[in-house]
Symmetry: C2
Subunit: 281 residues, 2 copies
């Protein structure tokens, strides 16, 4: 898909929600897409070839099955320590366990907020964020309110994200080396390209640190197209996390080539073993 | 499946979690199942034939799609008013809208807590409950912590449920005619029969008002077998809500025959129209 088509889609979104706050978000998305005839989205910026340790440092090693047990979380943490993944990503009820298991490891603890539907009250998301940070989380991946976005309430979407960002940035607890990171999950499988673009504008305005494609629980996950689109809208100031269906080294390289700076994957070990066997070969 | 098989499964669960709090929950479940050779579970208690208004008063008219818009919630409320369903069931961010739309209608507002994974911190579930009641909810359907249950932490499961029950029963806000109702979603598709049984014991001990089969977002929904099992364990003191895949009048009658006292359905209008056309015929 070309930037021109996304421009058209944004103009349609503006018409559909005429007279609402959507207008301002569409304008900003159009500005960030650049002038017409700009080279199309979707092409990799350059060839990417990452060594195993670089791949590992991109991966949020993820176990978000609703029936994941203590033992599964312990195993996840052991694997993360072995491969030195960027983080483990677990449900809030497992943050204390993961935080304790990784106390001396160079691996962050990431959790999820308002997951996976994003349709909670914003004050609940803020509360859940504070509790997670108090329990030892370093990063929070929040789901934006998808229905609010589709109803054209862009200011409400931005306020929802800001509630989490402020809860995280106000946090002063613990011996955390760096400020907490907030990632905003768009759930791209449920959005049009224009909605993805204005969602990125809202995340950027609200002060989030990353935008992220997917929860892994919708009908689709990360695509190179979506990563490129999100990267174009957020610029270089924010990270882009590709999550959902990223299961091989090739997937990782492709996502990075299109602008991803973090990868969410439940198959991190399999990705790393794939690299090792390739190297062996 | 017969009660004897469930007894065996409970004994196996007790062995698997020997030395934990699981033992007491297994004993209570065995007591409630009754002596061996009791007639098997699964047969309807009696023939059921409900008139349309009775069916309508059983139904929680449900719209929990993560991308449901304001317009979809408005339509849901209009339909609920027309048919006089028991409630509308919506995500927490839509409780104010539904509460306002149904202010003068004999239709309750139900919302969901820790939905659909149940893997939040208990204090977050309690906070979300209080906020929902303040926003106008009359009923809350919470998801129990499935992974904690599978890890054998039955006391933690009970405490998690109790946190929501206490938040609800402490509630004194608003012109509510009746105390808030708390339903506990087991997510039966992810549980063994023995786990379903001890989950019902935990819900009963924690003071919940209902047990409920499913979120509608797992691989399976309500079955007559599960409804009969849950009814047997909770006795007559609690309600049983069958949700997930209940899409016809026949489904409703079958669930009621096996012990359900509430039905969760997104296709309530279609169920009612089916009854009307049958009557016309």
């Amino acid at each position: 898909m070309q930037a021109n088509q996304i421009r058209d889609a944004l103009e349609q979104l503006r018409s559909a929600h005429a007279g609402t706050s959507t207008d301002a978000y569409v304008r900003e998305a159009l500005d960030r897409l650049g002038p017409p005839r700009r080279p199309g989205l979707g092409g990799p910026r350059d060839g990417v070839s990452l060594a195993p340790p670089e791949v590992a440092r991109l991966i949020d090693h993820t176990q978000l099955a609703p029936d994941a047990t203590d033992a599964a979380i312990q195993q996840l943490c052991t694997e993360a320590r072995t491969y030195e993944f960027a983080s483990v990503c677990v449900h809030p009820c497992y943050v204390p366990l993961a935080s304790s298991a990784l106390e001396t490891a160079p691996v962050a603890v990431c959790t999820v907020i308002g997951f996976p539907h994003g349709a909670n009250h914003p004050v609940t998301k803020a509360f859940e964020t504070k509790q997670a940070l108090e329990d030892g989380a370093d990063e929070v991946d929040m789901v934006l309110p998808i229905g609010r976005l589709k109803s054209g309430h862009m200011e409400a979407v931005e306020a929802d994200i800001r509630a989490v960002v402020e809860a995280a940035h106000d946090d002063v607890a613990g011996p955390r080396a760096q400020p907490p990171i907030v990632k905003v999950i768009l759930e791209t499988a449920l959005l049009t390209d224009a909605e993805k673009a204005v969602a990125c504008v809202a995340a950027r305005r609200a002060g989030a640190d990353f935008v992220k494609t997917s929860t892994g629980f919708a009908s689709g996950g990360a695509t190179a197209h979506d990563v490129a689109l999100m990267r174009q809208i957020v610029g270089e100031a924010l990270g882009v996390k590709a999550a959902g269906g990223v299961g091989s080294v090739d997937d990782v390289q492709r996502m990075v080539a299109h602008g991803a700076t973090r990868i969410g994957a439940s198959g991190g070990v399999s990705i790393m073993e794939g690299m090792t066997s390739e190297t062996d070969y």
